[in-house]
């Protein structure tokens, strides 16, 4: 199980990177460019709030998992 947790750290890091890309280039930036207030609000939420939290937080979590921080003997 500890090895699985470590390996999945790569998954969380990959998910963090994918989320960052998708949120920025597929959601936030296109919405902000549209210019409507509703779209602008949505774009701002995605770009400045959700994306940083998910990408940085989940990425760090994945890194810790990869390093074995969540192995049984270390918790």
């Amino acid at each position: 199980m500890d090895n699985l947790k470590k390996i999945l750290g790569l998954v969380w890091i990959a998910l963090a990177l994918f989320t960052a890309y998708f949120c920025l280039f597929e959601l936030a930036i296109p919405k902000i460019k549209v210019g409507h207030q509703e779209d602008l609000v949505f774009g701002i939420i995605i770009m400045f709030i959700l994306t940083p939290i998910i990408s940085m937080g989940l990425g760090l979590f994945g890194y810790y998992a990869l390093c074995g921080e969540y192995a049984k003997e270390r918790t």
Binding site: I53, L58, Y64, A65
Partner: protein, 494 residues
């Protein structure tokens, strides 16, 4: 005799903590519940700057600022104690709420009106960020070993009950006043009423003693000198903060907000139920469901907290789409049999069409022509009766059960994850990021997705908004299943 004395003490602690936290949730939700009225009084749509401030007031203050409040007051709570810190948060919230009710309208003081509302709303968010962690920690540190889930679950009822009370106060105020009176000044009553509630709670709280665990730590000189650094600059502790967020609080937040706020928004904007009826249905489900917080909190002391929370997430992500589809179909007029239809010409600019269906559903379409812009505004309102209302209440109730499963145990779970000296700080941040950010932004994100799907002519547009909570809950369930232990982390339980 000692056990009885301890129990009596704990009930006093529960009463003082819950009362204050309940009022804070009431204060916080009263703004959201009356947001439409507030927007017309303080944020005129024809003024772009005011409209932008409205956006900031709604999103920035209501949700984004909560984690900052968690950090600010969490640090204070770990430095000077739980009791005094959440006394401050109580007074801050009550004062801000009362003052919102006192602000003159935009017509009276212009730009200063939305600016003042924004500032006070920010203070509300900060206060809420500090309150919950303090109350949960305070209660947990009074609770006997092995009973934290049960005792802290009383705190967990306050959020839902606070929403319930905010709805009740609004409905009572509306029923007493005429529509014109409520629109003119009646909407201020729920805000002003808050100061009385806060004063009573303050009197109760000020007589409470500090938590025994914190008092002991202070006597021993083991309290933290720098809670923020020890919480987030320490790798060992930070990994648990991240785990608390991505393995529990994130999923719990979206389940909580989907079941209560998005369901309310969905009934009003997608199903076109009248506002009062939607509030009544939600209020009924909340009232029936609230005791289950206690049950699942108690159960988590018996079988562990992990799988109760994760099962709640799993059930939610698997059943949200069928639940919301069933909800939508209950008011899908295209599938109902029409009994009669009538049209009333109110005046030269307003026409009301009323349709009656075999199951007792009334559908009213109001068309109103703006004499200046020459634009016709169409408003659809649906009223349901009998079995339809019961089914709707049942579907909301199922979601409330999911909420109680994920939320009932989480206070105890978070408290037990962190040591006494940095507990207030460490548990508050993941909780408020999970609830304030992931959960709090959910209604806006989900509503936006639904609206866009409708514009794109998606036949199942009414389900589009659910992808956000489903995905978040699925990721959280996976992480929680793999990385969270089902027993408290004893190294951090001191």
């Amino acid at each position: 005799m000692k056990n009885k004395a301890n129990t009596k003490t704990i009930w006093k602690v529960i009463g003082a903590s819950s009362m204050g936290t309940l009022i804070e949730w009431y204060d916080f939700f009263i703004f959201g519940s009356l947001s439409i009225v507030i927007s017309t009084k303080f944020f005129p749509a024809d003024n772009p700057t005011a409209a932008f401030l409205s956006t900031l007031a709604t999103f920035a203050a209501g949700f984004v600022v909560r984690p900052f409040g968690a950090l600010f007051f969490g640090r204070l709570g770990d430095l000077i104690g739980r009791k005094y810190t959440f006394m401050v948060t109580l007074l801050l919230m009550g004062g801000a709420t009362f003052l919102i009710g006192c602000i003159p309208s935009y017509q009276s003081i212009g730009f200063f009106a939305p600016l003042l509302v924004l500032i006070l709303r920010l203070l509300q968010g900060l206060a809420l960020g500090g309150e919950y962690g303090g109350a949960a920690t305070y209660v947990a540190e009074h609770a006997p070993e092995g009973q934290r889930g049960y005792w802290t679950s009383w705190i967990q009822t306050t959020a839902t009950f606070g929403l319930f009370i905010s709805l009740v106060v609004i409905l009572i105020t509306k029923s007493i006043l005429t529509e014109q009176q409520f629109d003119a000044w009646g909407w201020r009553v729920p805000f002003i009423l808050s100061i009385l509630m806060v004063y009573v709670s303050y009197l109760i709280r000020k007589n409470m003693s500090e938590s025994p665990e914190f008092s002991k730590a202070k006597e021993e000189g083991t309290t933290s000198k720098n809670p923020l650094k020890e919480s987030f600059g320490n790798r060992y502790n930070l990994k648990f903060v991240l785990l608390a967020l991505f393995g529990a609080a994130m999923g719990q937040g979206v389940v909580w907000y989907t079941g209560q706020f998005y369901s309310m928004s969905y009934m009003k904007t997608v199903m076109h139920l009248s506002s009062d009826e939607a509030d009544m249905i939600l209020g009924t489900a909340l009232l029936i469901g609230t005791p289950f917080f206690i049950f699942f909190g108690w159960l988590s002391d018996k079988v562990g907290r992990k799988w109760i929370m994760l099962l709640g997430m799993l059930l939610a992500l698997c059943t949200y789409r069928p639940i919301y589809k069933a909800m939508y179909q209950l008011t899908d007029l295209a599938k109902k049999e029409l009994v009669s239809s009538s049209t009333q010409q109110v005046d030269d600019h307003k026409q009301i069409k009323t349709d009656l269906y075999t199951d007792g559903t009334h559908a009213q379409e109001t068309q109103e022509l703006n004499s200046i812009t020459k634009e016709t505004r169409i408003k659809n309102t649906v009223t349901v009766h009998g079995s339809t209302r019961i089914w709707l209440t049942a579907l909301i109730f199922i979601q409330i059960i999911y909420i109680t499963m994920v939320y009932g145990p989480i206070a105890a779970f978070l408290v037990e994850m962190f040591p006494v000296k940095i507990r207030y700080t460490s548990m508050s941040l993941p909780y408020h990021v999970g609830n304030g950010i992931f959960g709090g932004l959910l209604p806006a994100i989900s509503t936006y997705l639904t609206t866009n799907a409708k514009v794109a002519n998606d036949p199942e547009f009414y389900l589009a908004g659910l992808w956000y909570p489903i995905i978040i809950a699925a990721v959280c369930f996976t992480i929680g299943s793999l990385y969270i232990k089902n027993k408290p982390n004893h190294l951090n339980n001191g």
